[in-house]
Amino acid sequence: MFSNFDFDVIRRSLPYLFLDGMTFTLTLTALSAVGGLVFGTALALMRLSGFKLLGRIAGLYVDLMRSLPLVLVIFWFYFLVPYIGQWLTGASRPIRVGAFTSSLVTFIMFEAAYFSEIMRAGIQSISKGQPAAASALGLTYSQSMRYIVLPQAFRNMLPVLLTQTIVLFQDTSLVYVLSIPDFLGAASKVAQRDGRLVEMYLFAAAVYFVISSLASYGVRRLQARIAIVR
């Protein structure tokens, strides 16, 4: 059944698939994870800060993002980001935003909601006595977060955060709907141009599988090591 396969099409397109496509995917994943983590931490802190209004706003944002399909959010932001930019900078017309920046903003905003829930669970897993002891020692809220709670919480939730990053890596494939050439987009462009869907999609699946499996194996190893430390 593999007789009329043209595996050469994969070899010929390797430079494009990896140098362009996979670079885009990995860069987008890495930057979104960092951005999402920062914004997600902020959201989690807002929800745990004790300021009702702040907590409410952050909670609404997180619930909204988690209620919507990523595909819809991707469409929203691709069309909306230039207007947000216009509003932020006070420019007279929508600012020009490239495909990469737009997807980056989308994934940061979207993943932050998921990261913030992981952070919140991680922070809440630290027993109440610790921040209480910290405040008894005269540490402010931000000091107690910075020096006592977050370092421990972060270690607890590291495996979950990394697993979420693997999910993010897979989710970036959805920028396909915007014709942006990420790894899958690149594979599908070659596939459609040469009429080689079977070869290209099987290859794409294999690449995603290998990378995600290795990464999740790494996370499991890490989890085991951290578990011993605790």
């Binding site: 059944m1 399909p69 990523l70 819809l72 469409f75 069309f79 494939s173 959805l174």
Partner: protein, 243 residues
């Protein structure tokens, strides 16, 4: 340059001749729900089988379950749908492939099965964790009573494990609903797809997406409330979520 809002657009006739744009979105909503329900049934059935396999003492069963989970978890859903939709029919004998391709509503069946299999892994993992969280005494007591493994799972372990994992299952069901939107890439015109079609036909981007957003929020609300009621119904007094 300002965006021209036009909220009356929903009541203007859509080009498909069956009503206005609101009808178009609602028909998408119905398709989203149908696809999600079928996918969810598939996910529950297969997820239960695989989840149980992973907790069985048999090494083989456990290994098969592990491989299944790894396969479906490490490939993006979009790529999985492409595999089912574009690749599978080409690998089958020509007549079978053709039958598959020319099936009416092929995107619907492909999406339901594809999303269902993808979500079955999540159900399996939740169930495995749920069974794992039960005290070992439960299984031992069942065995001591003379129940076979099947009976122990059927009458003791699964009924309790499913109650334990009901809250995470709620969010997995919500994920199933959301994931059906990935199927617009294989031509399923569900809610997100209809919102996009409305944007293309009417050019009112943000109205279309706002409406879809509101409808998704409504589905979420209904599911969350429904599952809370179910949780209360099945709660065992004095146990887990029972109060």
């Amino acid at each position: 340059m300002k965006y021209n809002w036009n909220w009356h657009i929903f009541f203007e006739p859509s080009p498909n001749g069956t009503g206005n744009y609101l009808d178009m979105l609602l028909s998408g909503l119905v398709l989203t729900i149908e696809t999600a329900l079928l996918a969810w049934i598939i996910a529950l059935v297969i997820g239960t089988i695989v989840g149980v396999m992973r907790t069985l003492p048999s090494k083989t069963a456990s290994a098969i379950g592990f491989c299944y989970v790894e396969f479906f978890r490490n490939i993006p859903l979009l790529v999985q749908l492409f595999l089912w939709f574009f690749v599978l029919p080409e690998l089958l004998p020509r007549s079978a492939g053709l039958w598959l391709k020319q099936m009416p509503n092929a995107p619907f069946w492909t999406a339901s099965i594809g999303v269902g299999l993808f979500m079955s892994v999540r159900v399996a993992e939740q169930l495995r964790a749920g069974i794992g969280s039960l005290p070992r005494g439960q299984k031992m007591a069942a065995t001591a009573l003379g129940l076979t493994t099947t009976q122990a799972y059927r009458y003791v372990l699964l009924p309790i494990a499913f109650r334990v994992i009901l809250p995470p299952l709620t969010s997995e069901f919500l994920s199933t609903i959301k994931n059906t939107s990935v199927a617009i890439t294989i031509g399923l015109i569900e809610l997100t797809g209809q919102a996009r079609a409305m944007q293309e036909f009417s050019f009112q981007v943000f109205e279309a997406f706002t409406a879809a957003t509101v409808l998704y929020l409504l589905i979420n609300l209904v599911v969350v409330i429904g599952m809370r009621l179910l949780e209360r119904q099945v709660a065992i007094p004095g146990y887990i979520s029972g109060k």
